[in-house]
Every structure is written in structure tokens, then in C-alpha cells.
């Protein structure tokens, strides 16, 4: 039975009945990284240094060394990333159960709201409204907040700083608790630089998506793109982090399987 499911999947992939959508931003030094106050430690941006390029450093081969933080580019947050999840079992990139890394996605389209208000916060009411149209969020789903923020290809607009800091959309505190406690989601994904809103520091608790999701052993995905190519329900995402020992996260190649 299960073997037949996989055969059908492969057949549908080959015939194009199932499409694979790349949810990943390109890793390059042009893509911005999260910024903290300068006295704190900083996440490295992506950097590439050439080892050789068919030259005296290596005559027949081209390759690079790259450097980046665990939280650079499109990336996965493990529960150990936040203090609330630090003592949970299987909370780091090398120990998260791989079964959690492939799952159904519910995509909530907040692009209109985020377009009107960069500080837009997803609420419980908005999720219930989505459910009234698309059905209740199934247990162990990923919830992806589509904002079309990834269409801001200019890093200045993507980061969207002003005198009061960063302004990007994210979830309100209550909705994170709702998704964890009442809907049992696997994780939450966004298009902006973090799973929390740019002004998430001022919420209670600060950075509620990190606090509650990771505190409950759930995951985060951020800097996603192409969420506008996913249906509200019916897609499957695949988002495994690098198997870094005791890692708190990792850049990923996030993919979605979508019915054509």
C-alpha cells in the first residue's frame, strides 16, 4: 500500500501532475542577515571565498569555501534556538525527528494585510476566518504565513528599518499559543527575516513565535519565498536542516510538492 503511494508519487512527479516549488532564497552576499544591537554577538552573513578556479590554486577545478551563520538565508529554527526550548529532548538539528521535516502545509494569505501594514500581526480571528473557508488546520501541519514579503527584492525594503527599528509582519502572541495548543502544528514559517514580526521585541513575551513554538518543541522557517505558488491547503513541504551536532538551526533548501 505504502509502496504504491510512493509509486504514484513518482509517477505524478514525472508526469508533472505534482510540481515541486522551490521555497528557498538564493544564498549570496547580497541577501541581508538579521541584525542585533552591535554589542551582542552577530549572525554571519553568507560569504563565499574562492579556493581555486582552474588556475594556479587548482588547475582543473573550481570550488569555494563559504561561511554563514546557522540562521542565514532561508533557514530552519530548532527548539534549542530559544531559551524556552533549551531543555527539551531532540531539540537540535542533529536530533530533531526527521518525520517532522516532511508535512502538510496550510498557507494563510496575509499579503493584502502586510501590503497595507508592514507591522501586520496575524491574529487568532484571522486564522479562524481562514479555517471557515479552508477547513480546520489538521494536526501536525506546518502553517505558513504568506505575506509576499519575499517579493521585496531590494534588501533595504526587505529589511524595512526606520528610527524605531525593523518593520516586518509576523504572528501575534496569542495566535502562536493557539496554533501550538489548539491546532498542534509542527512549525510556523514566514517570508521575512524572522518568524517573529520586526517589532516582535515589544510583544508579550518578546518574540512570541520563538518563545512558544520552540518552548513546545516546534520549529520555525523563515526567509521563505514563492509561497504565492502554494495552494491554501494540499501542499507538502520538505525542509530538513543540515545535521549539525547541537545545531540551533541551519540554512535549508526548502521544497514544496504542489498538485499541478
Amino acid at each position: 500500500m505504502a509502496a504504491n503511494t510512493l509509486n504514484l508519487l513518482v509517477a505524478d512527479l514525472l508526469s508533472g501532475r505534482i510540481r515541486i516549488v522551490d521555497l528557498t532564497q538564493t544564498l549570496s552576499s547580497d541577501f541581508p542577515q538579521i541584525a542585533l544591537p552591535p554589542e551582542f554577538g552577530q549572525c554571519w552573513p553568507f560569504r563565499l571565498e574562492e579556493i581555486s578556479r582552474y588556475d594556479d590554486r587548482g588547475p582543473a577545478w573550481y570550488w569555494n569555501n563559504f561561511s554563514c551563520g546557522e540562521h542565514t538565508g532561508t533557514h530552519f529554527d530548532a527548539p534549542i534556538h530559544w531559551i524556552s526550548g533549551r531543555d527539551l529532548p531532540n531539540n537540535s538539528t542533529d536530533t530533531v525527528p526527521v518525520q517532522h521535516l516532511l508535512g502538510a502545509a496550510c498557507v494563510i494569505d496575509c499579503s493584502r494585510e502586510a501590503g497595507a501594514d508592514a507591522d501586520y500581526l496575524l491574529t487568532v480571528d484571522r486564522v479562524r476566518q481562514w479555517e471557515s473557508v479552508h477547513g480546520r488546520i489538521p494536526p501536525r501541519s506546518w502553517v505558513l504565513m504568506r505575506t509576499d514579503w519575499s517579493k521585496r527584492t531590494d534588501p533595504v525594503l526587505y529589511q524595512n528599518y526606520d528610527e524605531t527599528g525593523q518593520h516586518t509582519p509576523g504572528p501575534a502572541a496569542e495566535v502562536v499559543r493557539f496554533l501550538v495548543d489548539d491546532r498542534d502544528v509542527v512549525g510556523f514559517g514566514t517570508e521575512a527575516i524572522g518568524t517573529d514580526a520586526g517589532q516582535g521585541y515589544h510583544l508579550k513575551p518578546p518574540y512570541p513565535c520563538h518563545y512558544f513554538m520552540h518552548g513546545a518543541g516546534r520549529y520555525g522557517l523563515q526567509c521563505l519565498t514563492n509561497l504565492d505558488q502554494l495552494p491554501p491547503t494540499g501542499s507538502v513541504i520538505f525542509c530538513p536542516p543540515l545535521k549539525i551536532k547541537h545545531g540551533s538551526g541551519s540554512p535549508i533548501r526548502a521544497l514544496a510538492l504542489v498538485p499541478a
Binding site: A35, P155, Y158
Partner: protein, 417 residues
Amino acid sequence: MTGPLTRPKRKNPVLRTRLPLLPPWQRSRAALGLTACAALGRFELQTCRACGAVQYPPREACHSCLSGELEWRLQDGAGELIAETTIHHSNDSFFRERLPWRLGMVRLDAGPTVVVHLHGACAPAPSRVRVNTRLDKAGQGVLVAFPPEEVQNMANDKQLREMTCDPRFRKVLVTDGKTAVGQSLVRAVIGAGADLVWVGFAEPWKKFPGLQEIAALPQVTLIPLDVTDSKSIRTQAGEIGGRVDILINNAEVHRTHGIASRAGIEAARAEMDVNYFGLLRLAQEFGPALKSRGADGQSSATAWVNLLSVYALSNFPAHGTFSASKAAALSLAQCLRAEMRPAGIRVINVFPGPIDDEWNQALPPPKLGAQALARAVVAALQDGVEDVYPGDVAQEWLERFRENPKVLERELAGMAG
């Protein structure tokens, strides 16, 4: 008389660029003492501790009493021009391209008679002149006679300009326009007559006070430039490298930690990445272009300025990792100087004491203001010196370092937070 400098005609892009040549650069070990003081913009001569005789040219022993106890002492340079000549023919390739060239002999009031490059504004011999040192195109100390009083357009003398790096009518790259120091540097080189200033800025999404005002200046072009990003530097070197006459690298990261006050290496690594590797990346990408234009007419490529720190001389433990990164940068800057010398490009190292910025917030005054630092950089370019220690703190540290590096090390150890 020296006239006002006129803006050179635009370069004809299909003509060959003249190769940089150097004047004769061989010196004895003793004669390098003159280079050492010229690098600091000072005029010193060997003085005998035994008999008090002042001598020139430098040698191993006193010309009067044969004592080996010689020390370099500061001179005021006053003297009498007793003979002069204008060279119209030379077998030296460097001077052949720059003829005619005026030379003279000056009897210094201090005693010795010296051969000098003669500034165009000096009255015919016999006349009073003031002798000072300059570094020539080869980076070696030479003597120049100036008129006793400042005259108009003195810096524009054709011979003098072969020894200085005047920003007038030149194109300058300031690598970091985000900071008060960077913005002061931009304004100062514009004030000194720079034609065009490229101003680098990293992480454009962060708001930097003052950058928009700088961008509004007609001479300024903002360019995205991040010295931690090889690709960014390669791109800019490709686009503007062949036009940069003066590169001022002021990009720096400064955190206020020793070893014990900060766990891990992240802050120290960020300092090294910008302060040391940033210089290396810039030098690899921009260096070749500058070297190829060392003799490219009146507005040739001429100088590379590094913003170092007086902490590069001896570690200031309270800012220990920063000191180490600047010491690394100083060492690399010496390598850069050696590699740029054949092209006649001067590498100027600036060693300020604490700058009056947010990272030195907790240090008591005196602290060096951004504008004072920028003025010192421009003066160094105009005078063509190699090492600049702007401000009282830097001067004092330099004196203590020259007197006894070990004593300074122990004193600084006592200042560890």
C-alpha cells in the same frame, strides 16, 4: 613663482599609460635615518653626542671626532642657498621624464652644507631658505628647500608634487561613509580640492546618520562596498578601480574587550575580518589598478591610506582584541607599502589614539575628534608623509613607544579593565 594648479585635461582613453619609474632609491643603512624621520614629516640630522657636530650626509661615525655616538636630532632647517642649477639633461630615466629639475646647495645655519631639491618659489642664490624633508617617489627621504615664508600655491610646485599626494583634482575612495570619521574624511578631501569621492557603505538597510547629507554633496557618489565581502570589493574594483587616485580605508570594527571579558571569538573575529582581512581583500583587488597608474599624469594614482590605531604599536588590554587586529593590519600595511613602492604609490598609516566615538564612550578625554583626524589625513597626503600620529594621546604613546616599548607594555598592562 608657482601658479595655481589647473585641472588636467581629461585623459585620452586610447593612449598608453606611462609606466611608473622611481628616482634612485639605494641608501646606506645610516642614510635610511633620513627616510625614517621624513616618514614622520620631521627634519633630523645626525648629531655627535661627543663633540656636538651636526653632519650630512649621514654616515657611521662623526666626521669631526670619529665618535660612533650619533643621534638624529630635530632641525629647524634654516639656511642660505649658496648655489643652484637647473638640470636639463639626465641619464636617469625618472628625471629624464620630469626635466627641467631645479637643484641647489644650502649651507644650514646648523653647520652642514646639503644638496637639495629646490622649490620653484625660492629666490635665486644667494637667498634665505628653509630646508625640510620629503619622501620622494621611491619612498626615500630627500631634502627640499622651501622659501622661508609660506607663499601662494606653494603645494603646487611641479617638483614638490612628485613627492606629495595632494588630493586636489584627484579622485578618492573612502571605504566607509557610515561613521563620523568617514564622513569627516569625505568633507576634508573635498575641502582639499578632490574632484570626485566615492563613498562606500555596507549593510544599506541599516540607517546611518549623516550619510544622506554626504550623498547630497556634488562630488560624492555612494557605492555599496562591504570589506568583508570579496565579491563586493571585486565588483567595485572592476567598476572604479582604474580611476581611484587615493584610497582611504577607514572601515573598522571596534569592540571593547580583552580576552577574559568576552567569551568566544565572534567579536574578535569580526574585528579581524574587517580590520585585517578587509585590508587584504581591498589590497588584492584595488592594488593592481593603483599600481598601474602611478605615473598617470598630473592626477596619477598616488596614495593608499590605512586607518590603524596607536594600539597597533602596543596592546591596550582593555581593547585587546581590537589592538591585535590593528597590529595585524599594521604588519600587512608594511607588506602593502613594500609592494606599492615600485609604482610610487605611498602607503600612509594613521595611528590615532582613542577617537571620540561610541566605542570609546567609557574612556575619559582627551579623545580625537573625527574632524581633527580627517584634517590630519589630508595634511599627511599634502605633505606626503608615511606615518601619522594625530592628537596628543597618539603623540605621547609614540614617544613612550620609541623610548622603550617594554616600559610602555608594562604601563598599559596596568590599565587593563
